[in-house]
Symmetry: C2
Subunit: 494 residues, 2 copies
Amino acid sequence: MEPTTGDLTDPLINHADGQLFLHEAFKIIVEDVLCKGTDVKEKVCEWREPEELARLLDLELREKGEPQENLLQRVRDVAKYSIKTSHPRFFNQQFAGVDYHSLAGRFLSEALNTNLFTYEVAPVFVLMEAEVLRGLRALVGWTEGDGLFCPGGSTSNMYAMNLARYRLYPEVKSQGLRSLPQLTVFTSPESHYSVKKGAAFMGFGMDNVILVKVDDGGRMIPEDLDEKIELSKSQGAVPFLVSCTSGTTVQGAFDPLDLIADVCDKHKLWLHVDAAWGGSVLFSKKHSHLMKGVHRANSVAWNPHKMLVAGLQCSVLLLKDTTDLLKKCHCANATYLFQQDKFYDVNLDIGDKSVQCSRKVDCLKLWLMWKAVGSAGLEQRVDKAFLHARYVVDQMKKREGFQLLGDPQFVNVCFWFIPPSLRGKEKNADYQNKLAKVAPVIKERMMKQGTMMVGYQPLGDRVNFFRITILSPLVSQKDMDFFLDEIERLGNDL
Amino acid sequence: MEPTTGDLTDPLINHADGQLFLHEAFKIIVEDVLCKGTDVKEKVCEWREPEELARLLDLELREKGEPQENLLQRVRDVAKYSIKTSHPRFFNQQFAGVDYHSLAGRFLSEALNTNLFTYEVAPVFVLMEAEVLRGLRALVGWTEGDGLFCPGGSTSNMYAMNLARYRLYPEVKSQGLRSLPQLTVFTSPESHYSVKKGAAFMGFGMDNVILVKVDDGGRMIPEDLDEKIELSKSQGAVPFLVSCTSGTTVQGAFDPLDLIADVCDKHKLWLHVDAAWGGSVLFSKKHSHLMKGVHRANSVAWNPHKMLVAGLQCSVLLLKDTTDLLKKCHCANATYLFQQDKFYDVNLDIGDKSVQCSRKVDCLKLWLMWKAVGSAGLEQRVDKAFLHARYVVDQMKKREGFQLLGDPQFVNVCFWFIPPSLRGKEKNADYQNKLAKVAPVIKERMMKQGTMMVGYQPLGDRVNFFRITILSPLVSQKDMDFFLDEIERLGNDL
Ligand SMILES: Cc1ncc(COP(=O)(O)O)c(C=O)c1O
Ligand SMILES: Cc1ncc(COP(=O)(O)O)c(C=O)c1O
């Protein structure tokens, strides 16, 4: 190291200047993102081709900094060309809308900028995370247990796999998979792709994810599960985990948990419930029956950043386990972080439960929102989303040109729009081909005009259809009506 | 589904009320977190025993919501009892300080609440992430390549392992590890624990992480690496990855990359550089020599949320690869998200490169900060942190009672405080035992008085010592002086 030189008397950042900038940026955020961005008279998106957008944004990072006015203009530009995911006409993903209490919690988390690994640096959040997990576990039906906020449902699904194999073969942690028998995972073809990704990442291999048949609505068939498990055993493999879905990504199907739990009991398998999308029904007295039997699971993944509008990222893994499996499975006992001679109860240093080291504070936003509206308020939102979905379905049945994939179980409404030119032509040889091309064109038009956003996809042998997911507490019936009118407007000439 | 009932005319959230709350919360954040929280006349922490803190915070989640005034008081309470990580006397972790441009970027990301998987929902951020990764890769010395923002350095380290094994055995993705030979990873005992955690999580097993000897400063010894690789081969294993560290967590050591790259070349191993902590030296013309040879690596993990003060989480994986390995290794081709018949170039839909599905926008905060101060501004911060560390070291040498572990290579300064009662007693049989107890007591006192925060740990046979990490652009020389005085004040009677 060279000797001390240079001026060390002043810090490099001036608080007054910085706070002034923050104030100005805050004003833009409120005006452009929260006001204009939720105004139905404004666009959902300002579509630009990538080359043009790159030019407009002037993204290049340079040697020299820029004046504050430039930077504020950049804040405006980022807001302008970003998708308004809180807009009442954004139906494109499993998140939408904005909750102001959650957003305040997110700003506070960002300003406090701490790390959820020890009580020392995150006293408030260690306790708060535990309380939020407790509250969510109570909805599952567990008075005890464990859990963790994860950077997403995909990660939670991986954790479940790791815990299940560790429970069966604790030596896997030190010795790896090589000395173990072939391990197989069971899930439905309509489950989220993260089950397969996880199996690859964790060394099981995607081929060891065995797909169990579903019924027409996309629900796993327990009898087929039982048969597939028997078959896998007879081939010398060791089935170890069933990953059910509560609220599948596309159709919103709920696997029959109680019947599947019977099969898992019979074969002594770990039952994981991927409720990333559907978990929020547990807030609703009316709809929680969709997850009947969930208390029999070993683990549940649930994303409050989806239906509860908590803001990305907010995702939990919940565990029934009370034997400290999470910590045993993941700990590395780093002495620089988890000193055992601390002056407080080191069980509060929860970081070693995680495979992350730094872990963002994702509990505050959910906690503050929950405090603000109560379980009753969250229940009301869930119930209302169901009502909106029901309303859309009812309207679709009344309108020519909308054909449902099936009667929705949840807030996903999957449908084809059949333009006038194709109506009554179902028997034509090229009907399916032509129908497959409808959704992409309507989608392109809506994006370029910026009027709304909704996604489409094929599923198995069903060609491209739209999936509208209705969850935002900011929408009302007239947004549903607009949606239907707009699909017709955009597609009637096709 | 039941029929439509209930009132669907009004949304459940009122924007005016919500924005009013957000304004009030913003004021509290500025006042309590950013002003008081960075004021040296205020405490770094308000220590409370967990039971008392839980009572003060009233964490319980209830059926009914609360009035706005209550909620604002909760915002105040969370701020009050949280650690002030931006305070100039917070030296406890590898993050500290606040950058207002980054913070504005974080607020904007939170308000825009989108997901980095497709161009469709994140047009600005798909392009921006690519540009930031390009800028960081340029510092590594790569004009081409690939990369991804990850939820932390631990995750990036895991990705590197997955890519390295996939390059060697692409069939691992479908078939898993069972049919492969025993795979071994090489790293130093001073590397971050995430290498071991990753090896367990990904099915290699921790025992297959082979520890290479380090010199006194904590740097990996290339000759020992070569020998350990040969030994592992002779035992029938297949060495496949070396994980070097640029800036070890405790000592801040930089492994000699050029020499290690030679060994990797010889054995055709993937060279991963964990520069989560030290990567920021690449901004500095003066100090980038510490990572000489980094361009020869296959992958680099780097956390701008640490030394660059970008805010948690901000972490990248950088790759030299130009063959789309990242996507090939991780893709699952989910048709509901990555439709191939979109109206724009679907290569912009980068989500399938990741094992996450939802992925937070972590690039904006870094981009805006970089735009604000330029590469030159970031260089200045890095250089200044080195100067501060040098200053502290110089002062310690002048003061009785401070004993350095060694001459720091980086901004970690590791030292024992030897209280007067122990000075000159180095030969006593119980000296090490007594010395080991000093740091925990000083730590307890500083936390309870709230005057500052710094961490301690043992390392190998070296008993508890303090590690101060100096990185915040908010500190100045008087904070360093305060630090030294305060350690003396707290420890002189021990
Ligand atoms: C059923 C289901 N499981 C898991 C996930 C993945 O969650 P995340 O995006 O948080 O990784 C999703 C979200 O897309 C989902 O719909
Ligand atoms: C050298 C090193 N590598 C990796 C990590 C892990 O990074 P993260 O905390 O983002 O997972 C750390 C941080 O603690 C580190 O110091």
